[in-house]
């Protein structure tokens, strides 16, 4: 049969705001070309026209599923540039909120990963549990998705007094829910048939392609910015960096599952160690000339901010190295000689986020 060229997206139930051009021979995909840019908002350019404190609501739109982690990366980079250190309580609050956000983001991923083989129940349950974490975020910040909570020099407001109790209760409940997901998805025979051995990325390939985050760890490479370059107060907590050796869709899914468990662990420790004190310091408007590269471990992987300052109150150049963009390199590599049914599974096992790719 002749090779058909199929446009998988941007108007497609499973593609998100991006397109993959597939060359299909019967049911076998022989070639895949990702075509992105449908949600390009030129955040890097817009940032050059805004003051440092005004960029916080802007950068969190890079990846609004993960906005705490994204703003944390930006705020840290500016703080290093300005040479200010936020108070300890602020750092703890940042860690707590970032880890809760990692769970939120992974839950969203779990929902999409669950529906990609065609199971809508696994879409709804994680979305339902995600609401609990959004409630927690709303309790602290006032918004549910884009928070603008981390500001340069600390956080915008202190934690409410009843927050620790409620967070612990939510986490207890969520641990039980994780067992349900384990039974429903990770131990289900049919999911196993769909996920095991699909999209295998060997250790050397993963490093060579430059993929990051859970995808890299799913191939057996132990890289985690929280351990390699501890930021905020991450060096005070005990946690594991989960890795899997196989490198297929199932391995990547397992890594994210264990990461949620580790996040619960970190939040519990941080809530126990939460110190008293101020939650923000005054930050200057201007940054001294210089350059800084700061990275954080966002839910999708390592996120880097490269800021060049010329001494004014606006960044001279802001470069965002986003995790989904770096994971994009794995698309053409993995989507070769697989069946069409594997395309959505591979796609979402890599957890791409088109907004994050395009910036």
């Amino acid at each position: 049969m002749a090779v058909l060229r199929i446009s998988w997206g941007p108007q497609h139930p499973a593609s998100g705001q991006m397109r993959i051009i597939l060359d299909v021979d019967g049911d076998i995909v022989v070639n895949a070309i990702p075509s992105v840019g449908y949600t390009h908002r030129s955040i890097e350019k817009l940032a050059e026209y805004r003051r440092y404190f005004q960029i916080v609501p802007l950068v969190e739109r890079i990846c609004n599923l993960d906005s705490f982690n994204v703003t944390l990366g930006y705020v840290q980079a500016v703080e290093e540039l300005m040479g200010i250190v936020p108070p300890e309580r602020a750092q703890f609050i940042r860690v707590i909120m970032s880890e809760l956000n990692r769970i939120t983001s992974h839950l969203y991923w779990l929902a999409l990963f669950g529906i990609m083989p065609g199971q809508p129940t696994m879409l709804m349950w994680p979305i339902a549990d995600r609401e609990l974490f959004l409630d927690l975020a709303e309790m602290v910040t006032g918004s549910r998705v884009t928070y603008s909570y981390f500001i340069i020099g600390g956080v915008r407001a202190d934690l409410p007094s009843d927050f620790p109790n409620r967070a612990l209760k939510t986490l207890d409940y969520f641990e039980k829910r994780l067992k349900v997901y384990d039974k429903m998805l990770y131990r289900s025979k049919l999911y196993e048939m769909r996920n095991r051995g699909v999209g295998i990325m060997k250790k050397a390939d993963a490093i060579n392609l430059g993929v990051v985050g859970p995808n890299l760890r799913g191939s057996g490479v132990k890289v985690d910015t929280r351990k390699d370059e501890p930021y905020q107060v991450y060096d005070r907590f005990e946690f594991e960096v989960p890795t899997e050796e196989v490198g297929d869709a199932e391995a990547r899914a397992k890594v994210r599952f264990h990461e949620m468990e580790q996040s619960i662990n970190i939040v519990r420790q941080a809530l126990g160690m939460l110190p008293e004190g101020p939650f923000q310091v005054k930050a200057p408007f201007r940054a001294p000339p210089g350059e800084v590269y700061k990275k954080v471990e966002a839910a999708r992987g390592e996120l880097g901010f490269y800021i060049v300052s010329d001494g004014t109150d606006k960044p001279y150049r802001l470069k965002i190295s986003s995790p989904s963009f770096r994971n994009l390199a794995a698309f053409p590599f993995l989507m070769k000689d697989v069946t069409m049914a594997d395309i959505p599974v591979i796609y979402f096992s890599l957890d791409p986020f088109p907004l994050d790719i395009d910036r």
Binding site: V36, G37, H40, S42, E44, K45, L46, Y49, I207, N208, L209, G210, V221, V223, D228, E229, E291, Y293, K295, E302, G304, Y306, V308, D310, R317, K319, S321, F325, R326, L328, A329, D358, R359
Partner: protein, 151 residues
């Protein structure tokens, strides 16, 4: 484990003419400025001898009062946990340099983006087609400083 100063010394001795400036910014950050014709050699040395595993980001930069674009590569080493910034200058009238994709596969997409946003041509890059901008984009590369946004 290779320390930051060892990397700087190693590079300085190996590529005496090519390296304009090399210094340690802080812990785990090394900044190197090199001449553009030797970048490919330096990159392969970084990969083979100094254990740098992949390119973290590639970006263009245009410093004021300079008649050149700066191309900034960031490399990360998993074993040494060091981020190396490699800067090189390309003249504004003919912004062209050799691509690092043959050595670092991970530079592929970043160089495509830089090509699109800054108009810097990476010769011997496998595919420099449009990535983020619309296909009918005909204005100058948008990240350059002379491309101004309407207020």
């Amino acid at each position: 484990m290779t320390s930051e100063t060892e990397i700087v010394e190693n590079l300085n001795s190996k590529f005496k003419e090519a390296i304009v400036d090399a210094n340690v910014q802080r812990k785990a950050r090394v900044i190197i400025t090199a001449k553009k014709d030797k970048v490919l050699d330096i990159a392969s040395h970084l990969k083979k001898e100094l254990n740098f595993d992949f390119v973290v980001s590639v970006c263009g930069l245009e410093m004021p009062q300079e008649d050149a674009f700066t191309v900034v590569y960031h490399f990360w080493s998993i074993s040494n946990k060091i981020l190396l910034t490699l800067k090189t200058k390309v003249p504004k009238e003919s912004p062209e340099m050799l691509s690092l994709t043959p050595i670092f596969e991970s530079a592929n997409w970043h160089e495509r983006e830089t090509h699109e946003m800054w108009g810097i041509k990476f010769s011997n890059h496998p595919d420099l087609s449009r990535l983020l901008l619309p296909e009918d984009w005909s204005e100058k590369p948008p990240q350059r400083k002379d491309f101004t946004l309407p207020r």
